[in-house]
Assembly symmetry: C2
Homo-oligomer: 251 residues x 2
C-alpha cells in the first residue's frame, strides 16, 4: 500500500456549499479510486472564489499523485475553474484549437462566445483534452490536475476516458458483514480483531433498520483472504451476542 | 456580508472517501448556514487517519468562526475523532461526569467500556456537551469546534441543540428561475446582469430534464429585493430566447 498512488478530489461550487445541490461526484470517484487501488486521501469543497480555488489547487497538487476537480467549466460567468487553474500554474488561458474544431462541428453557426469559453484551457505544455461521449465540451489535464465537469454523468464519462491512463495500485477490496446488534456490544471484540489483522482496515457503521439497531462491519484491504478471515471472526463475535449475520448482507 | 461569521465542515471517515457511504451532512449544514447567515466557506473530507484529522482541525480552527465535525465519536476502535481533537488542542481525553451519568441512567448494567468511550471529551476549559434527543451519547463543543455525530439524523439533532448559541448574520436568501433553454444561449445576458447586481451572487446550473436542456439560474443575496429584480431580468433574457420561465420553478 505504501507505494500506491494518491488522490484528492476538489469539488468547486457555491451550489454544493449552500446546500442547494447534493454532490454525487465524491461517491463515484471514491468507488473508482478504491477499485483502481488509488488512495483517495482527501476531498475538499470550495466556493466559487478565485483565491480559495487557487490556494486549494496549489496546496493539493504538490501533495497527491492526482487531483481531480469537478465543476465550473461551463459557458457562464460563474464558471471560473479554468481561470483559476491557469492562475495556479502561472499560465494564460487560451482556446484549444482541437476543442474549437470539435465545438464548431457540433454547434456550427450557433457557436457563440459563451460556448467557445468551453474550449479554453491553460496555455503551455502538459495540457491534454479530456473528451467525453455526452457533450462537445471537453475537460482537460494539466500536469497532475484533471479538470472535469460538475454534472455527474459528464464527470463520469470524462473520468472513464482518463482512467486507463492513470497509474493504479493493488485494488482495495471491501466486504462487510451485518447483524442486528449494537456496535457497542461487539466493540471490544472488533478492537481485538483489528489488532490481529493490521493490514485490514476494519470499520464499524451503526444504523437503524426496521427500527432495530444494526451494525455493518466493513473490512478493506488489498488482501481478500485476510478480509474473509477477519470478517469470519467478526461474524463469530456477532453470534456470541445472539445476533446471526444477515445473509446476504444488507446493501 | 463582510462581518458575517464563517464556518467549515470537517467530515471525518474512510466510509465517505471510499464511496461506501453517501455524505448527507454537508447538504444539511449548508442549508442551515445559509438560513442563519453564516458563510460556509469550506468542507473537507478526511480519512480515519490521526495525522490528517489533527492537521485539518488545526488549519481550519484558526481560520473560520466555527468548525463542525461529523463522524468518529462512536464506541468502536475506528472512532478516533475525540482523541484527535484532544491532540489538536494539546489536551488529554477524560470521561465527562455529566455524560457518564446520562449514559449510566440509559444503559444501567449494560454500560460497558465501549459505551463509556462515548462519554469522552478533551480535558480542560471551554468544553460543553451537546446533547441530543435521539441517543444518550453526546457531542461536544471545544472552543470554536463543534464535534457532532456522523449519522445524519443525530448530527441534525445535535446541530439544532447548538444553533441558538451560534452568532448568526443576515440570512442568505436564495431564489431561482428555470427555463428550457441552454445556459450558453443566455450566458452573455447573465454576465451583464451579474455586473448590474454586484451584491447578488448569480449562479447558472444546467441540467437535462425530460430529455431537454434546462437552465436553473439561482440568485443568492442578503437582499431579497435585489434578488427579485435580478431574476426579473433573467426571466426577460430567457423570454428573448423564446423560453418561457417555468412557473412554479422546478425544485
Amino acid at each position: 500500500m505504501s507505494t500506491a498512488p494518491t488522490a484528492c478530489l476538489l469539488i468547486i461550487g457555491d451550489e454544493i456549499l449552500s446546500g442547494r445541490t447534493q454532490d454525487a461526484n465524491l461517491k463515484f470517484i471514491g468507488n473508482r479510486m478504491a477499485e483502481m487501488g488509488i488512495r483517495l486521501l482527501e476531498a475538499r469543497v470550495v466556493p466559487d472564489d478565485p483565491d480559495a480555488i487557487v490556494e486549494a489547487l496549489n496546496m493539493c497538487r504538490v501533495r497527491y499523485t492526482y487531483i481531480f476537480t469537478t465543476g465550473g467549466i461551463g459557458p457562464t460567468h460563474d464558471d471560473i475553474t479554468t481561470a483559476c487553474v491557469a492562475k495556479a500554474f502561472g499560465r494564460n488561458v487560451v482556446r484549444n484549437p482541437e476543442a474549437v474544431k470539435t465545438l464548431m462541428a457540433y454547434y456550427g453557426e450557433r457557436a457563440n462566445d459563451a460556448r467557445l469559453k468551453m474550449t479554453e484551457v491553460p496555455d503551455g505544455p502538459s495540457v491534454e483534452l479530456i473528451n467525453n461521449r455526452i457533450t462537445a465540451a471537453p475537460g482537460y489535464r494539466i500536469e497532475n490536475v484533471y479538470v472535469l465537469a460538475g454534472i455527474p454523468n459528464i464527470a463520469q464519462a470524462m473520468f472513464e476516458a482518463i482512467a486507463p491512463t492513470l497509474k493504479s495500485g493493488d485494488p482495495l477490496h471491501s466486504s462487510h458483514v451485518d447483524a442486528f446488534v449494537r456496535e457497542s456490544e461487539i466493540a471490544a471484540e472488533l478492537s481485538k480483531i483489528q489488532s490481529n489483522y493490521p493490514h485490514v482496515s476494519i470499520g464499524s457503521y451503526p444504523s437503524l433498520r426496521e427500527d432495530k439497531f444494526c451494525t455493518s462491519v466493513v473490512a478493506r484491504s488489498t488482501d481478500q483472504t485476510a478480509i474473509d478471515a477477519a470478517l469470519g471472526e467478526v461474524a463469530d463475535a456477532m453470534r456470541k451476542k445472539g445476533a446471526e449475520p444477515i445473509r446476504p448482507p444488507l446493501g
